[in-house]
Symmetry: D2
Subunit: 345 residues, 4 copies
């Protein structure tokens, strides 16, 4: 049994990790940390866990966790993960970081969009944890930078056509919509029920911090620098991201040719499902699961392709993908602990 710690486990991402790891056949969760909830049983903070675990939050330092853990998930805010990751890595504890701290390869880009980086040397050791693109690298890594939720949905949606050279890389527009759990459990006016319910809005238009991550990864696939228009929106639902992605097709490409490209690209992928044009993705079909559903429409009238991808932002967009990465790092079945069917309705 793998001994696992969750560092900074009090938010939605942390508890979703715990939900998945408790159900994982090869894992023992040995510690979950939270400054705020130190000493409190997780089932008091999240009553859904009553009867499923006796774990209590502890307020341990990274050093204190090292002896008991094989692998640690960091579910900390940006800027904090980079402070504790080095301790674990140097002590030989593998790290899967759910923050943005190790996702960008270029320190200057990171510092332009986020903050000063305190562990820049670790950046080149970190592997971008998108298994569908970097499976082999992840297997050998000690530090995985788990992708952002929006980037996961957009990169998986675009990768096949971009790699095949079917679309103009300068034409990409990603219009994304996320459920409220993506904003975390912090007390913010904008997360209050009455502010969100029956509402819908865009935010951080053209300036969201996931933009450089999306551009970095699309650029690697296309082998050229890419600039994208990325617009996130806030959906009045608990979970789910749906990205609607537009790109100009290079020449005439039919719906069935595009279908072939996607089916080949993802032929061996357990967690990517290709949808037919008459059954496009819906976030309600991936809720609680690690699937990324992808559909597309080749629009002859406009010469564009419209790609639609749906994930659960807390699962494939965060904790589920992190577990998938852990499975790869330890040679476990890639889908271990991730085999539940989406909860619908």
């Amino acid at each position: 049994m793998l001994k696992v710690g969750i560092y900074g486990a009090s938010g939605y991402t942390g508890q979703e990790l715990l939900r998945l790891l408790i159900g994982h056949p090869d894992v023992d969760v040995v510690a979950i940390t939270s400054r705020k909830f130190k000493g409190t049983p997780v089932s008091e903070v999240y009553p859904a866990f009553a009867g499923m675990t006796n774990l209590k939050f502890v307020d341990s330092s990274p050093q204190q966790l090292v002896p008991s853990c094989d692998v640690v998930f960091l579910a900390l805010p940006h800027g904090e993960a980079m402070l504790v990751a080095p301790v674990f890595v140097e002590a030989g504890v593998k790290v899967i970081d759910l923050s943005a701290d190790f996702r960008l390869r270029d320190v200057s880009v990171f510092e332009a969009w986020y903050t000063k980086h305190t562990a820049p040397d670790l950046l080149e050791k970190a592997v971008y944890g998108l298994p569908e693109l970097y499976r082999d690298d992840i297997k050998g890594s000690n530090l995985v930078a788990n992708p952002g939720c929006y980037p996961t949905s957009i990169i998986l949606g675009l990768a096949p056509l971009l790699r095949e050279g079917c679309i103009d890389p300068s034409s990409i527009i990603a219009d994304s919509k996320s459920g409220v759990s993506g904003a975390g459990r912090d007390l913010q006016l904008g997360s209050l029920f009455c502010e969100v319910n029956e509402g819908f809005k865009a935010y951080k238009v053209g300036s969201h911090r996931h933009t450089p991550e999306i551009e970095q990864e699309l650029g690697r696939i296309a082998n050229t620098a890419i600039t994208v228009s990325f617009t996130p929106h806030l959906l009045p639902v608990n979970r789910g991201i749906l990205s609607t992605i537009y790109a100009d097709l290079k020449g005439k490409i039919s719906q069935s040719e595009i279908t072939d490209i996607y089916q080949k690209f993802y032929a061996d992928e357990k967690f990517v499902r290709i949808c037919s044009a008459d059954s496009l993705p819906n976030i309600s079909s991936v809720r609680g699961s690690n699937f990324c559903d992808i559909g597309f429409v080749a629009d002859g009238r406009t010469g564009r392709v419209v790609i639609i991808s749906a994930i659960d932002n807390l699962v494939k967009g965060a904790s589920g993908q992190a577990v998938q990465n852990m499975n790869l790092m330890y040679g476990l079945p890639e889908g271990a602990g991730l085999d539940s069917i989406s909860l619908f309705p």
Copy 2:
């Protein structure tokens, strides 16, 4: 592996059964029937199942199903289950019926609230499938009448105090609130999004068909005829029933004495969780799980106890309880296939 059929599988209850049974380690789902969707893959009707099963709906007669099934779940409307159940029972296929057709022991009561009964002789063979009360009977049964959703929440809430004689049986009022999936997937004006969303109402006040079922079972516990006030309401959520139950206490009984009674009564029950008075049940803590969460407040001012119970109407209120019954009937671990943690948020 147990060979299982689902008869009438196209609604929310049927697909929830399928979700649970696909994840069950000891079960093979060999057939799911639907007249409407005959020949269609379940993943087309419910895209959440894509990649999880290749099952297609068939339109088989009960006779056609008999040879391939050990046990059959009936997810049919009231009045239809009684037509097919006899075929299975006589052929030695065990039946778990999710309709109301075999829940009432007294034919005349059934016929007063529902319709003419076509298989009255089976009524006495049927066992009321509430494991917390009738576990041993269920183990030996060939025909289990799976309880209604509202009755499950109310009976489990009241059983301990009623059996201990702590409350006046003539004083019981159950104010219940259910999510919309309880109304099924039929096309009804009252189930349209815009009719339900941002709304809340009571319906069938004093006349809901679950009333005689509640009264029958409470009467058996109390060993006396019981009449209850039962008011169902429609909640603008997908899943969940919360029942707020009022009863007059016989004499002074403290919060801690009541707590003791509940904890003893449900000491060995895997799927009943007793909540403390400062953390009363919330339907969001049982979503997708087979738990029934129960809390209570002894109100000295009024001499009443207020009991609150929460279940997922599709799981403990229907399909999950049906699987629990199947496990008991076949000597499997009672929680097999039912061990997932509630999905929150």
Copy 3:
């Protein structure tokens, strides 16, 4: 034109007052105060007001407001209204207080449920602002204590039967469900979207502060001390309270006799609508309006009556009723500014 001030206008109740008063034909809103938003246009805090008003929040003292106002609405937390009300009353500015500070006639009851009262002498001058019961008193009052949201729904629901002596006053149980705006706009974990959405729970069972207010008013109607069971619940909607109220009928009373009683009692009431038994109240039919919809079912089986009332907690449950009171105090048409049709869907 009446010169009106809103003291403490930054929350949902304050902005709802402003919405109604801007549309009122006989009113000029001359000042809205907020410490937090001092100097900010209301349309920045609430974009719904853009183009409808140029008002800015000011941080004036009560003394500063006195010269410019005929009447002031206090939309302050409990305990703060009693600090400013005396200033206005003494200066001859009429006060409509939306807090609980002047609702309870007995100082000792107030102090048992709330806090030390700093203006107890004003309690006997205050009129309980429920027009359907105290219209004449309100007309002559300088200090109106606007009723609580839950009490409004419960008192209006019970008044006819209680006054007619048709129900046992010791048997009353009120099971109420409120939308989230009732919790205000403060940053609380329990008001976050993901904590509320798809959830449902009871809270403060048997201990909510509206209990003594309900009991005081029901007691005045019945001319006897009354103790009620009152259970509030949190509904995942923005607006609306639905109360389901149970009481034992004294003797046999038919549905049509009860209907007569309600229709007579509320015959001249503009804002109370009596619903037929096959069209019981729904909060979505009163959204945004000042109506209280009331329905009932005489249940011969149990000897109880079930009364259901629905209001918009921000309108008839707070700001709309406050405007209705203002209209009465100044001899304006009682429905002035309150004539909009509910917004459905």
Copy 4:
């Protein structure tokens, strides 16, 4: 007082018209028709109207309505409005048609996207009822084709930049999200609460019937044929459309230059509000009102502008705009009956 009829008034659009017209100071609603609800009071079909009107649905022919009406609103499905409009127009009753039947000027385009047109001669007499673009034409018209909900949001969003020649007309992408009331009150699986709630999806990608209407009107503004990518999505809310629109800027244009363009273009428009970049439109700020809120971000990184517009699909997207058109046709104040503040929360 203007005598007004609503033809086909049983759906959400019809009842929203009725809500607005009952509150209109210069209007008498003399007839509302519905085959289905013939003889039923509107307050039985829509309890929100109880106490506000005694109107009953009638099943009159157009000929029967003619003598009593000055103006008629047609709230019929596509294909039916064209059958009744000629009767009214020929009899001198002015018509405001909320269907698509008279929106497209080119019969062949209409027939390519919809169905055979039975009154093609009326097409050239019809005026496209977007007051912000065609106010003078509307004033003199006897037949106004009320714009579609999506087109209203998109055309108002793009008009200023398109007319100024600031954007490349071939680059336009409109990603729109609509509340469920846009689908009407018909019984469809896709409109059921459990199918929509907690879900989000695109539909009719590249093939929605509003596309030619959008292209026609944008083309008229730009004086060139325009092809757009238009993707509608279904939002789990009752009301509201938010369109996120992308276009390539021709040359460098700053945020403040764009702001100037919008403010000038809409300087005299009562129902268009320009939002600042740090307070972008939210559908919850226009709920129940006739406003169109527009915001935009000039994105120097990508050379694109992102325009965001929000309307209430039932008001500015349908019935409110229809009333605005009526006001223009009869020389009434343009905002008569449309002055209520949005209902938030």
